[in-house]
Amino acid sequence: MGILKEKDKEKVANIFKGIEKDVTIVMFTQEMECTHCEMTRTMLEEVSGLSGKLSLEVHDFVAEADLAKKYGVDKIPATVLFGDRDYGIRFYGVPAGYEFNVMIEDIMDVGKRQPGLSKEVMTELSKVDRPVHMQVLISPT
């Protein structure tokens, strides 16, 4: 069963034409998939099919516990956006509602290998001298 509407797929495919470098979407689910895991995986399969620059890796959170640990993933469904390296971007739960926009924009940023922030902001951020764990909690309604 398809998740994304045809017109949304068309729009996203059009945006994805601007992806410059390859992006790997790494998704963690499990053999007995919960509804949200299956929904996320189906959506990501559709999204990754919209550009030749995107690939999707689906992993089993239980069977591949070591890999999940490597990515710091402790709950599922989890979506990791990976470029030349891990930028620390994680989505837990279904990136639905407005967060779907955010995920698409993040894919674009990873594809550019830069976050599109101004020099001033980058200079300020370079002053952060310890690891920061930022979490945004949202409700998909």
């Binding site: 509407k5 949304d8 034409k17 410059e20 929904m39 639905a96 926009n101 101004s118 998909p140």
Partner: protein, 329 residues
């Protein structure tokens, strides 16, 4: 399997439409003030394939409070006017690069290449440079470090933060005196520091400040340094007559010593006048074919919103004419 009825919203993605590096545009507009926005409207109506590269929309208009000389409005709030401009531009399908600065412009054959600080390169057959002006810094110790922590450049934006506080205003012209008036309205204790001997502000403004009565006037003084760690605590000034230094207790410093043209990307590309403004003719042409200039960054006198908007319109029409004559459109 039936999934929960979540929506996958794509409404925000339209707004994020960015210029594409692989496209050669008819026109790239550099800047986001009235000149740039007016140029965008005119170019879009000519069905030119265009994009805008700007740090923000509104430019210096957003630093003003009320505008009483925009035709059709006895008085309009500056932010409202800037919002209307922006809304007008966004009514067209125009790609916008919002945020990154322009680092380099060059011309290869008939195509301009514009590099931004995200290291992206955009191509176009014509350019309109409408990057405006910015506040001239004092270039004294403590200024850079304390920007936003007491050092300010826009009274309209920041005066309310200094309610009842001690503030030094550097400058002796109309903008310095207007800042002193704005600060007095929020009961700040103001000292005006003028580098050149003799105040340059209009008599009427000087009279108004004198009537306020509480503003200290330090003529022929210079700001030597700004002190403070997490915020401004003092401003050290020097009497240029006798070189005597004095430390003024202050929570803030407003810098109102004029404006500089944002000409950096074209500094070595087009001819500039002695003030660094881009030299344009009455059709907004610069010394480089296909590169047009509009608004405050150019030599056109009288830096006014209505003039910038008119120049932007002219620049867009000139760019269109240029492409027609070259059979590029």
């Amino acid at each position: 399997m039936d999934f929960p009825e979540f929506s996958f919203d794509t409404s925000l993605l339209e707004e994020a439409k960015e210029p594409e590096p692989e496209v050669t545009y008819d026109l790239l507009i550099l800047g986001g003030g009235p000149a740039a926005m007016s140029a965008a409207v005119y170019a879009a109506r000519k069905m030119m394939n265009l994009a805008i590269i700007t740090k923000d929309f509104g430019g210096q208009v957003r630093e003003t409070s009320e505008i009483e000389n925009w035709l059709g409005f006895q008085s309009i709030n500056a932010k409202d006017l800037a919002d209307r401009f922006e809304e007008h531009v966004k009514g067209f399908d125009i790609a916008v690069s919002l945020g990154p600065s322009i680092t380099e412009i060059n011309k290869e054959a008939d195509t301009f290449k514009v590099r931004t600080d995200g290291d992206r390169v955009f191509s176009s057959r014509t350019l309109i440079l409408a990057t405006g002006k910015r506040h001239r810094p004092l270039n004294v110790p403590g200024e850079k470090e304390l920007v936003g922590r007491g050092v300010a450049y826009c009274a309209t934006c920041d005066a309310p933060f200094f309610k009842g506080k001690k503030v030094v205003v550097a400058g002796g012209g109309n903008s310095a005196f207007t800042t002193a008036v704005d600060l007095s309205k929020v009961e700040a204790e103001v000292a005006l520091v003028n580098f050149i001997k003799g105040w340059q502000a209009d008599e009427a403004l000087q009279e108004r400040v004198k009537q306020i009565g509480k503003v200290s006037l330090l003529d022929y003084h210079q700001v030597v340094r700004i002190e403070g760690k997490d915020g401004v605590t003092a401003v050290v000034v020097k009497n240029r007559e006798n070189d005597k230094e004095d430390k003024l207790d202050a929570n803030g410093l407003f810098v109102e010593i004029g404006l500089l043209p944002n000409n950096e990307p074209v500094k070595n590309v087009v001819e500039l006048n002695e003030h660094g403004e881009v030299i344009v003719d009455c059709s907004c042409k610069t010394s480089v074919e296909g590169l047009f200039g509009a608004g405050d960054v150019t030599t056109v006198p009288h830096k006014q919103i209505v003039i910038a908007a008119g120049e932007g319109a002219k620049a867009a029409l000139s760019a269109y004419d240029y492409l027609i004559k070259k059979s590029l459109i």
